[in-house]
């Protein structure tokens, strides 16, 4: 792609589809220079998080455009993680050309903070995958030696059998020692801290079984369990890897959100020069420029300029707030109309966003105390199994003799070797395969199912918590509603077109709504926007005004229905009032009804005005609501609910919800929410509908049921298998069959979730 094509592409992509409306924001203003880091051999590297890249076309467009920039050596877009890595020889490329080229293609991109970006290779996942591969190789090959021994034991001479066992030992021992390392490490770490976990019995079983099998092989006897050891490790590693993948996905999502906060700011130096700095580097009393369309990185005071701020995500208010000299701009507010010059009033780590981030941390620490159901099962499992094995050993060592002295004859003495062998068989047969596999398998199936429906679940225990909730608290703006005003007055086509022509020259949310209703068209001539007031311009050679009542129609009567409004005056015609509503999500009422049908109490907590909240609550069918709540009041309300014994699901999108999201038992955010809220939420759902919330609750409850069933199944299995093992009837074949059988059973049970009917498809 040459430079001309690039320019043409940028002209296409920046504006709206009609090419006439001003761009929604000016992503070209992002300056990533502060995030360039030095690579090896005089190379500079920039990593950017590219939003919206989805297909082969995107890869070609982005990588092609990057490589076309003079000086760029290499560009690689990772579609799975949405990261673009561009390298060039030191000093050859100005990082700004990269971000503006990306913006020109129509992709929003954020620079990655190198400190956050460097830890991205998932070492732990790779270790697990290597261990899993080795265990898979070993269990398949050892099976090759075991099956002939089981099936041909009668025809097979003792020497052939021993040879088969030796081969098994050669493959299994190194493989088990290698792929067992994740378990050994964790077991040793737990024991050092004086605790036990699931990995302690696993490690003991592996080491004991390997030793016993080796002794059996060396002495030419039957009971070699090499196949069971390999299969045990293989199955457990599958569960371990699935669990790790789930957590890693959540961690990456959180890290991406953190890295996105690596925003830059334009600082005015003392000599009037503008320079790009990382927002983190800003200090109190620095002067910064905030272009229209940009989000304020820190709390600051306006020193020059007049504009309007979109604070919807901060406070939940739908309408823009005017900003004049001396006004405070909170971090997170979006500047709508005119550039502003600001003086930083508090550094980034004291800003509102940072304070909220701390609140979130506190909330999450509370959540970390949540005990996952698998951990509860393990606490029961470890002591029971170990004492069973110990009792079995003691019984076979001393039992027959004791019973004889008590007058019960008929139980033959067994050797020390046999007593140990039987005790080991108990350890093997009670292997926690089902336990280690049951929970992650269900959670992976459940999150995968939800992911296809546009719901991102950030952790396995989020599902467990979601299944327990009994109350749903919803935010209004942006959660119950779409958070975007929609035209509510019916206008004749001529008036609509004329008003939209003026509106096309503005970035104000109400203007945008008007343009959305009118569709593509030409902007008005000689249009001038007066921030906080409205727009003047010429239509068909006649002066026209669109804006506040005081600006466009000072003599028109005031309406007191509290709705957002614009007035439009065209020449001498009577001014027209255009009213807007913040529309409920299309399925809001249905979803509320569905939640109530599931026995959940529903209430609304909003920062918006009482009138608007009451209206939305009435339409959605919610009886309990509170309006004009501040962030601290929201989390206080959640604390009160918790103190009353309720388990609350909080659904919200704004910065003002972030603390409440973190304080709730479980939380959800729409994909349009601010980064902080998405980071605080357990699940993030995309699209215009609220239905994914119901789907998520249903799936979580079904998943919980499957997990309980799976735990019951493994308990049942142990109830049958343990007596058999303790009585000494277990052979290597029985152990292998039991292990594979129980694991298969719990996995199949987990897969049943896949076929569950979803609420969305059954109700529409």
């Amino acid at each position: 792609m040459d430079a001309a094509a690039l320019t043409a592409a940028s002209a296409d992509a920046v504006g709206c589809p009609s090419g006439l409306a001003p761009p929604a924001s000016s992503p070209a203003g992002v300056d990533p220079t502060a995030f360039v880091r030095a690579g090896e051999e005089d190379v500079e590297v920039l990593e950017m998080l590219v939003q919206g890249a989805r297909c082969a076309g995107c890869i070609r467009k982005i990588e092609g455009a990057m490589l076309a920039l003079p000086g760029v050596r290499d560009a690689r877009l990772n579609l799975s993680t949405a990261r673009l890595r561009v390298t060039w020889a030191r000093g050859d490329v100005d990082a700004r050309t990269i971000s503006s080229a990306l913006a020109g293609l129509g992709y929003a991109a954020t620079a990655f903070d190198p400190a956050e970006g460097q830890k991205q290779i998932d070492e732990e996942g790779r270790r697990l995958l290597r261990a899993l591969a080795v265990a898979a190789f070993a269990s398949m090959n050892v099976m090759m030696f075991s099956i002939p021994v089981w099936t041909g034991d009668l025809d097979m001479g003792g020497s052939t059998r021993t040879m088969m066992h030796w081969w098994s030992a050669i493959v299994a021992i190194p493989a088990a020692l290698y792929s067992g390392r994740p378990f050994f490490r964790s077991a040793v770490a737990a024991l050092k801290r004086g605790r036990t976990n699931m990995d302690v019995p696993i490690s003991i079983a592996v080491v004991l079984t390997l030793t016993m099998s080796l002794v059996e092989t060396a002495t030419g006897r039957h009971h070699a369990y090499f196949d069971s050891v390999c299969m045990l490790l293989f199955l457990l590693l599958i569960g371990r890897y699935l669990d790790h993948r789930l957590r890693e996905k959540a961690r990456t999502a959180a890290r991406d959100l953190l890295a996105m906060q690596a925003t830059t700011a334009v600082r005015l130096a003392a000599d009037g020069r503008a320079e790009a700095v990382a927002a983190k580097a800003l200090e109190t009393d620095d002067t910064i420029l905030l272009a229209a369309g940009e989000r304020a990185p820190v709390d600051a005071v306006v020193v020059d300029g007049v504009s309007e701020l979109d604070c919807a995500l901060l406070t939940g208010e739908t309408l823009p707030v005017p900003a004049r000299i001396g006004d405070t701009v909170h971090a997170g507010a979006i500047n709508l109309t005119r550039p502003l010059t600001l003086r930083v009033s508090s550094p980034v780590d004291a800003s509102l966003v940072a304070q909220l981030a701390r609140l979130i941390e506190i909330g999450e620490q509370g959540r970390a105390r949540f005990v996952r159901i698998a951990d509860k099962a393990v606490r029961l499992y470890v002591p029971v199994v170990h004492s069973l094995a110990a009792v079995t050993f003691l019984f076979w060592m001393f039992g027959p003799a004791l019973l004889r002295t008590a007058g019960v004859a008929g139980i033959a003495d067994v050797s020390f070797h046999d007593a140990v062998m039987i005790a080991v068989a108990v350890l093997i047969i009670t292997c926690p395969c089902a336990l280690g596999l049951a929970v992650p398998a269900v959670q992976v199936v459940a999150t995968g199912r939800l992911f296809k429906r546009g719901v991102l679940v950030k952790s396995g225990d989020a599902l467990e918590r979601l299944a327990q909730i009994d109350t749903v608290v919803l935010d209004k703006t942006g959660t119950l509603t779409l958070g975007k005003p929609r035209l509510a007055t019916s206008l004749d086509a001529g008036t609509l077109d004329a008003a939209a022509a003026l509106a096309r020259c503005s970035r104000h949310p109400l203007s945008r709504a008007l343009v959305d209703a009118a569709g593509p068209g030409a902007p008005a001539r000689a249009a001038v926007e007066v921030p906080g007031e409205g727009i003047t311009g010429e239509i068909d050679g006649v002066a026209a005004r669109l804006g506040r009542r005081s600006f466009a129609a000072p003599h028109a009567p005031e309406h007191d229905d509290d709705a957002a409004e614009l007035w439009f005056a065209h020449g001498d015609a009577a001014p027209v009032r255009i009213a807007f509503v913040d529309e409920l999500r299309p399925d809001a009422a249905r979803v509320i009804a569905a939640l109530q049908a599931r026995g959940l109490a529903v209430e609304i907590l909003s920062g918006d005005r009482a009138g608007a909240v009451a209206e939305a609550a009435r339409e959605a069918g919610v009886a309990h609501w509170s309006a004009e709540t501040r962030p601290a009041q929201k989390s206080a309300r959640l604390d009160a609910l918790r103190a009353a014994g309720h388990k609350v699901l909080m659904v919200g999108d704004g910065l003002n919800d972030a603390a409440a999201l973190a304080a709730a038992h479980a939380s959800a955010s729409p994909g349009t929410a601010v980064e902080v809220s998405q980071a605080a939420a357990d699940i993030v759902f995309t699209g215009k509908h609220l239905a994914p919330v119901v789907d998520a609750i249903d799936t979580a409850r079904a998943a919980q049921k499957r997990i309980t069933e799976n735990l019951a199944l493994s308990a049942l299995y142990n109830a049958v298998a343990v007596p058999v093992a303790a009585l000494g009837f277990v052979t290597p074949l029985v152990a292998a069959l039991a292990m594979a059988g129980s694991s298969l059973l719990v996995t199949l049970n987990a897969l049943r979730l896949q076929g569950m009917q979803s609420w969305t498809s059954s109700s529409s």
Binding site: A56, D74, L79, T81, L129, A133, N141, M144, W167
Partner: protein, 53 residues
Amino acid sequence: MDIIVFLIPAAVSLGAMGLAAFLWSLRADQYEDLEGAAHRILLNDDDLPPPRA
């Protein structure tokens, strides 16, 4: 049955080769971008200018 003296080492080493191939592909970062790899197959080689190494 003497043949198994050869067949068993042959079978095990074939399996080991498969394992080695997998470990190599893991080390060569081939699983870092599964989604991108699925799409890149649709690109023609001449769509992208070669990286100037």
